[in-house]
């Protein structure tokens, strides 16, 4: 058995958020669907939730596993175990299925009843709808997200509406929790397995890591998009309290420097984008240097300070409205929007597919 036969965990961006991986980092690799189509399994939810909360086919393993967390600090690192029992000196060991938002009956019995593939997602879709309705009714009820039906409507609207549609609902952390986990059975190879990269502007723009991301994209010939995302300071857990109540999740701008420096510079929207990238590169670079300078000044002051949320919003507004011409502002493709979607990056402000 090889470790390379195992799973690379990913997410299906059905919410069409600008930065789809904010729970797990500040760089997102968006895979080439043609490459990964035959190696992808869709789960209707985060698999950690049901593997830890539902009865396991091979028998219960969670209580024994939780017992290996031998102090309170360690116990807090795995929320599936529940809380530290100070009297017994034991890490929780919450019984499977108890208090779980997961409808475990979907996950027992016939293997693969609830998983799907990219070409046949009906099973996962059925389970997702079931899970979504179940957990919407069990979890985060009565809050600003409204009834289960309203929550489901919000999900469908995020999936189906264009980013510039005023009816598009904002993204929220509880809403994001209802996503398809897309698991790749094998090691996607570089560069052919990747379509493009997305970098979180608030973490990487104007930094050495940002330059490294640009260099990686350039070396592999991938377009790089910058996204505003949830504009949230980094935190150790993706808990709702660490994020704004809601955000638009509709900001993506193509990096003109990477466009000009690589083969990805041939991207076009019914026309060559080189001229647009050339025009955008100098102001992009000026903004980069400005942000780098602000970050350096804050670092000199010490205390681990970072620019404020408002400051990032202002810089994003500059990038989005002044630096990037319409041809470099992109939103995700919809099904069938672009014929060669394996090598397409998105749709520009005028509705043209941007491909390479």
């Amino acid at each position: 058995m090889q470790a390379s036969d195992r799973v690379v965990y990913a997410v299906l961006n059905q919410h069409k958020t600008d930065f789809p991986c904010f729970y797990w980092g500040d760089v997102a690799v968006v895979f080439n669907n043609t490459y990964v189509r035959d190696m992808t399994i869709l789960n209707p939810m985060d698999s950690g939730d049901y593997t830890c909360d539902c009865p396991s086919p091979g028998g219960p393993w969670i209580p024994k596993f939780c017992a290996s967390f031998t102090n309170e600090t360690a116990c807090k690192k795995i929320w599936y175990c529940g809380s530290w029992d100070a009297k017994k000196g034991v890490c929780g060991g919450r019984p499977p299925s108890k208090k779980s938002p997961v409808n475990c009956s979907d996950w027992t019995g016939e293997p693969f009843r609830t998983v799907g593939t990219l070409s046949s997602g009906e099973h996962a879709a059925d389970a997702a709808a079931d899970h979504t309705l179940w957990s919407f009714s069990q979890w985060e009820t009565g809050g600003a997200m409204g009834t289960p039906a309203q929550k489901l409507a919000s999900l469908l609207n995020r999936m189906l509406l264009q980013w510039d549609d005023e009816a598009l609902p904002n993204m929220t952390v509880p809403q994001f929790d209802y996503y398809f986990e897309a698991n790749l059975l094998g090691n996607p190879r570089f560069p052919e397995a990747v379509s493009f990269l997305i970098a979180d502007m608030t973490v990487n723009f104007g930094t050495a890591e940002g330059r490294a991301i640009q260099a990686w994209a350039g070396a592999k010939g991938w377009p790089l998009l910058w996204a505003l995302g949830s504009n949230t300071p980094p935190s150790p857990t993706p808990a709702p309290g660490n994020h704004p109540r809601s955000w638009r999740a509709t900001g993506r701008v193509m990096d003109p420097q990477v466009q000009l420096a690589t083969a990805a510079g041939t991207a076009r929207a019914g026309r060559n984008l080189t001229a647009a990238a050339k025009a955008a590169a100098p102001p992009f670079d000026a903004l980069w240097r400005k942000v780098a300078g602000e970050r350096a000044a804050l670092q000199k002051k010490g205390g681990g300070k970072r620019p404020s949320v408002a400051q990032y919003e202002a810089w994003w507004a500059q990038l989005d409205t002044k630096v990037a011409p319409a041809g470099l502002r992109l939103q995700p493709m919809r099904a069938g929007a672009c014929l060669a979607d394996a090598k397409c990056v998105g749709v520009d402000a005028e509705g043209h597919c941007v491909c390479y």
Binding site: M1, S4, V7, V11, P20, V29, A215
Partner: protein, 106 residues
């Protein structure tokens, strides 16, 4: 077609969620995308330093892959004293360099 994406931190920070994943330096020098079993075998010093995060990260994956997906179990036992999860542990670094196999869906 919806986007399929995987996120990681460009700069490793052990306090962050998913801190045991790639960073941009690792990604830049890789020929393919590593999975989370390959990471502790290829970068043991960094991964083992976050012991509780590491086992929290791998145990649910072991349960999913070995029990729910029915993938073949690894040949070695979990190498941490007093810790177990379904599916075991890959026996050697050599295993992770073999060609990936995508026969599962065929």
């Amino acid at each position: 077609m919806a986007e399929i994406a995987h996120g990681f931190h460009a700069k490793n920070d052990p306090t962050q969620n998913n801190a045991l994943d790639l960073d941009i330096a690792m990604a830049s020098s890789a020929a393919w995308f590593y999975n989370q079993w390959q990471m502790p075998l290829l970068f043991p010093a960094r991964e083992d330093a976050s012991y509780y995060e590491l086992i929290s990260y791998l145990a649910p994956a072991g349960a999913l892959e070995a029990e729910f997906y029915g993938l073949q179990k690894f040949s070695a036992p979990v190498p941490f004293a007093g810790v177990s999860w379904p599916g075991g542990w890959p026996a050697s670094v050599a295993e992770v360099h073999k060609d990936p196999c995508c026969e599962f869906l065929k």
